[in-house]
Structures are given as C-alpha cells and as structure tokens.
C-alpha cells in the first residue's frame, strides 16, 4: 500500500481518496459505492484518508443516533483508513494560507476543514483526490483550487478498477 508521512513523501502509486463525512458514514452504514470504496481500501487498492475533524463529526453523529461509534472506529482501523491528527494539519506551513483561501471560497464553514485537509494532502500528489458528493465542494472555483481533482465515488472507483 502507498504510504506517505504528513510532510508529503510519497512512496507508491496507489490512488489516495480524501473522504468527507458523508462518504464515510455512507460507506460504513449502507450498501453502495461508498461501501465498495471502503472495501477497496481494506484490500489496499486505494488509501482512504480522513482528518481528525471528520472522525469527530462522524463519531458524534453516530452517537446522537445511538449507534456505537467505537465500533465504527474499529471498522475503520481494520479497513486501513488513515486518520491525520488535527495538530499535524495545523503544523503544516501552508495551513494558514489554505485556511484563508477556504474562507474566501467556501460559504458553509462546515466544509472548510475538509477543503484545507484535502488541499494539504493533495498538494504535489497527483494520485490524490477529494471524494465527495457535496455540491458546494464540486463548484467550479473550489474544484479549480484543488487542481481539478474532485471526484464522485463512482468516478474514483472507475479509476481504481482500471489500474491492473
């Protein structure tokens, strides 16, 4: 499996998916393409990355519905989903620049953490994509700022299965 540390060293060519909260809970709780994506991650055919913010959102949302969040965390751990701590994100030298950019581009504040995280993780890594169905994150100016690498789950899976 492709591994890289947060400073950005990439040691492989496995595609990377930066997943948003909707993608993640859809994959964990329901049948469908998002679930297929998590299976591909478990098989090592794609690296799925989330930030601590996404994990916090997910666990709180599940807890509010009485679903055992600790089981979801275990499922992600066994499924090889990579979680980046928030303090590592904020230590990045470009964090403030991308945070400011997110405030200009994205009106809905709850989409800013995923934008900043995705941009930091995608920079210099052409195999990394933001995977989302969120229309605000798929707008032209946001997509352009992310080097055009914003895909739906279906589009990413097509790319993964095209890799021999």
């Amino acid at each position: 499996m492709s591994q890289r540390n947060y400073s950005g060293e990439n040691t492989g060519h496995t595609p990377e998916a930066i997943a948003d909260t909707n993608t993640l809970y859809s994959g964990i709780l329901y049948e469908g393409l998002e679930s297929d994506l998590l299976d591909l991650a478990a098989e090592g055919r794609v690296v799925v990355r989330i930030s601590e913010y996404i994990l916090d959102e997910l666990t709180r949302v599940l807890e509010e519905h009485g679903i055992r969040a600790e089981l979801a965390v275990k499922s992600m751990e066994y499924g090889k989903i990579q979680v980046t701590p928030e303090d590592e994100i904020r230590k990045n030298k470009r964090f403030q620049e991308y945070l400011a950019e997110s405030k200009k581009l994205i009106a809905d504040a709850k989409d800013r953490p995923i934008y900043v995280f995705a941009k930091l993780m995608m920079e210099g890594h052409p195999n990394a994509y933001l995977v989302t169905g969120d229309s605000d994150l798929m707008k032209g100016d946001v997509t352009a700022a992310l080097w055009g690498r914003v895909l739906t789950t279906r589009e990413l899976i097509k790319r993964i299965i095209a890799i021999p």
Binding site: N22, L29, Y30, S35, E64, S75
Partner: protein
C-alpha cells in the same frame, strides 16, 4: 496476539481460496472478516433505529456547528 481457532475443512478451503488473491495471509483474511462483521452490526443498528442518510445529514449540520464553536473554531 496469537489465537487458535477450529474451522471445518470447507471453511478453511474457502478462506485459503482467498488467501494469495485477496489477502496476503490467513490472519489478514480473519481481520477483514471481523471488519465485515462489525460493519454488519453497525448496519443492523442503523436499520433498527431507522437512521437514514437524510437524518444523518441533518444531525451533521448541528454537530458541525458545535465543533466549529469549540475545538475547530479556527475554521469558522
């Protein structure tokens, strides 16, 4: 942690058919089987509690508001 489990011949044959193709080892196959069991548990909980994607999305909105007022206020 090492554990020993007893399997029927058919179950072992099924698992070994996957080892080498989908999994590198029997241990990896067992870990993934447990992941899928956990996922099924979570899905059953969601079904029993009638938790739809729409309801999760609504909950996400107010959870995000709380997070952006606290630990993640720098993004607000």
């Amino acid at each position: 942690m090492n554990v020993s489990v007893e399997l029927t011949r058919d179950l072992l044959k099924y698992m070994d058919g996957k080892v080498g193709r989908e999994y590198k080892s029997r241990s990896e196959a067992v870990r993934d089987a447990i992941r899928l069991m956990i996922r099924e548990d979570l899905r059953r909980q969601a079904r029993l509690k009638d938790v739809t994607k729409e309801r999760l999305s609504e909950t996400r909105d107010h959870v995000a508001e709380e997070l952006l007022r606290g630990k993640y206020r720098t993004y607000a």
